[in-house]
Amino acid sequence: MAEPTGRFPARLIPQMQPDDTMLVRQAAGGDQTAFRLLVDRHSRSVFRLAFRIAGTREDAEDVVQETFIRAFRQLDRFESRSNFGTWLYRIGFNCAIDFTRSRAHRETAEPPDVLDQREDPAATPTGHDVVYAGQISVQVQRALRALSDQERTAFVMRHYHQCSIDEIGRTLDLKTSAAKHAVFRAVRKMRVALRPLVTSQGEGM
C-alpha cells in the first residue's frame, strides 16, 4: 500500500504549531509531561523517516529514541518562530544518518562469514522476484539501501517528505548544487536498479 507522501505531519502542523511551541517552552523548563506530549505527537512520523533511511524496524526505533534525546538536549536552541516538526525531523534525519554510519562501522568489524550471511542490498532483482507484486517494496528498499547515506537521505527527503533542495542541503550540510546532485545521483541509481520492475510492469500492460 502506498504511503501518503505528504510532508511531515502536514495535516497536523497548522493547528499544532502553537501548541508545540508552548510545549517546547514548558519542556525546556523541566515539564516532563509537555515533552511526553511532543513525543506522542511526533514519534510515528520520526519512525517513518527513520525506517526509510535505516531500513529496519529495530534500527528505526533506536533512531526515534536518539532523535528525541538529542532534541531534548537542544530544546534551548529551538527558535519559537520555527516549526517544531521540521526542526525535529532535521534532527531525526541526522540521527538516522549517524546511525547508519555507525552500523556500517560495526558491520565491517564483523567476521566475513557473518557479513556473507546477510542479504546483499545491492542485489539485482531477478526475473523471478519481479513476478511478485509484493516484491516491489522489497526491491525498492534494496535499491534505497544500495545508495550512499547521502544519496538515500537526499532521495527520502525529496521524494517522501517533499523537502526542498535548500532544506536537503541544510540538513546534509551541502551547498545547493551538491544537494541537487545528490538527488540526481539517487534517482539515476534507483532508475537503473528498478528498471527490471519498470520493464515487467510495462510488459504486463
Binding site: 504511503e3 526515534v64 555507525s102 562501522h105 516491489i136 519498470v198
Partner: protein
C-alpha cells in the same frame, strides 16, 4: 527555437518530475516531451520510479507505540531542571543479546571476587579448593579485559577533553573507538549486574552514556556538541571514576590470589 532544437538532460527531467524547475522550464520540457520519443521514454522511467518508490510499505508502528517509545526514552533523558537524574536504557534487542551472553558466562565470571561498597575489589575469603582454580582463571580474564576497557575509555575521555575546538572535524576515530567501547561495555555491565556488583555497574552505566553520545554523535561535532560532552565528563567526574576503578582492578591483579604469569 523548436522543441527539438535541444534535449533536456537527465537532471532537467528529474527536476521536471519533481517540479523543481521554473514554470517556463516546465513548459519547454513539456513541449519537447511531446515531440521527442527518446526523452519521453526517460521521463516515463523517472515517473515509473516515482510510482514504485511511493509504493514502498513502511510498517506502521503498533498500537501503543508512543507509550513504548516513552518507556524507553524517559529514563534516558538527561537531567533538566526538576527532572530526576536518569540513565539511558537498553533497547529490547540489546537486552536480549546481553542477557543471552550473560546467562552463558556472566554468573560465574566474577564469582571469584566481590566489589565492596567502597569500590575496592577484594577476593572471596573462603573459596573452596575445587572452585578456586577455574574462578581465578576466569577472574584474571575479566580483570584484564576490564583493565583494557577502562584504560581505553580514559584515553578517549582525555582526548575529548583536550581536543581543540577547531579540530572537531577529525573525531571519526574517537567515534569508532567509542562505538567499540559501547559494545564491549554492555557485556561487562551485564556481567557485573548479574554478579551484583552495584558500583561497577554504576560506573559502567555512567561511562556508557557518554560513550554512546560520542558514538552516535555527529561526525563533525560543533563547539557546542563538544562542550556538552566535556561538561558531561566533568559534571559526572567520569575521569576520576574511571581512574579509580582502573586502580582497583590493577590492585586486584597484583594480589597473590591471581596468577600474574597468565595476565
Amino acid at each position: 527555437m523548436t522543441p527539438l532544437d535541444w534535449h533536456p538532460t537527465d537532471e532537467d527531467l528529474t527536476l521536471h518530475a519533481y517540479r523543481d524547475n521554473t514554470p517556463e522550464e516546465r513548459a519547454a520540457v513539456d513541449r519537447h516531451l511531446h515531440e521527442c520519443a527518446s526523452c519521453a521514454a526517460i521521463a516515463h522511467e523517472i515517473e515509473a520510479l516515482q510510482h514504485l518508490a511511493s509504493a514502498v510499505d513502511v510498517p506502521e508502528p503498533e498500537a501503543g507505540f508512543e507509550d513504548a517509545v516513552w518507556a524507553r526514552l524517559a529514563p534516558a533523558l538527561p537531567h533538566r531542571a526538576a527532572w530526576p537524574p536518569v540513565r539511558r536504557p537498553w533497547s529490547l534487542r540489546q537486552v536480549v543479546a546481553v542477557t543471552a551472553w550473560a546467562a552463558a558466562v556472566g554468573g560465574i565470571v566474577i564469582a571469584g571476587y566481590r566489589w565492596n561498597s567502597s569500590g575496592i575489589v577484594t577476593p572471596v575469603r573462603q573459596p573452596t579448593a575445587v572452585a578456586t582454580a577455574p574462578s581465578q582463571a576466569q577472574e584474571r580474564v575479566l580483570l584484564t579485559a576490564l583493565d583494557a576497557h577502562f584504560s581505553q575509555t580514559e584515553m578517549l575521555f582525555v582526548e575529548l577533553m583536550n581536543a581543540p575546538d577547531d579540530a572537531a572535524g577529525s573525531l571519526a576515530f574517537e567515534r569508532a573507538t567509542a562505538d567499540d567501547l559501547v559494545q564491549s561495555g554492555r557485556l561487562y555491565r551485564a556481567t557485573a549486574a548479574e554478579a551484583g556488583h552495584r558500583r561497577l555497574t554504576d560506573v559502567l552505566d555512567d561511562v556508557q552514556t557518554v560513550l554512546t553520545e560520542v558514538a552516535l554523535g555527529p561526525e563533525k561535532p560543533g563547539k557546542q556538541d563538544l562542550a556538552a560532552i566535556r561538561s558531561r565528563i566533568e559534571d559526572d567526574d567520569l575521569l576520576f571514576k574511571v581512574r579509580a576503578v582502573t586502580n582497583d582492578i590493577r590492585d586486584r591483579q597484583q594480589q597473590p590470589g591471581t596468577n600474574e604469569g597468565a595476565l
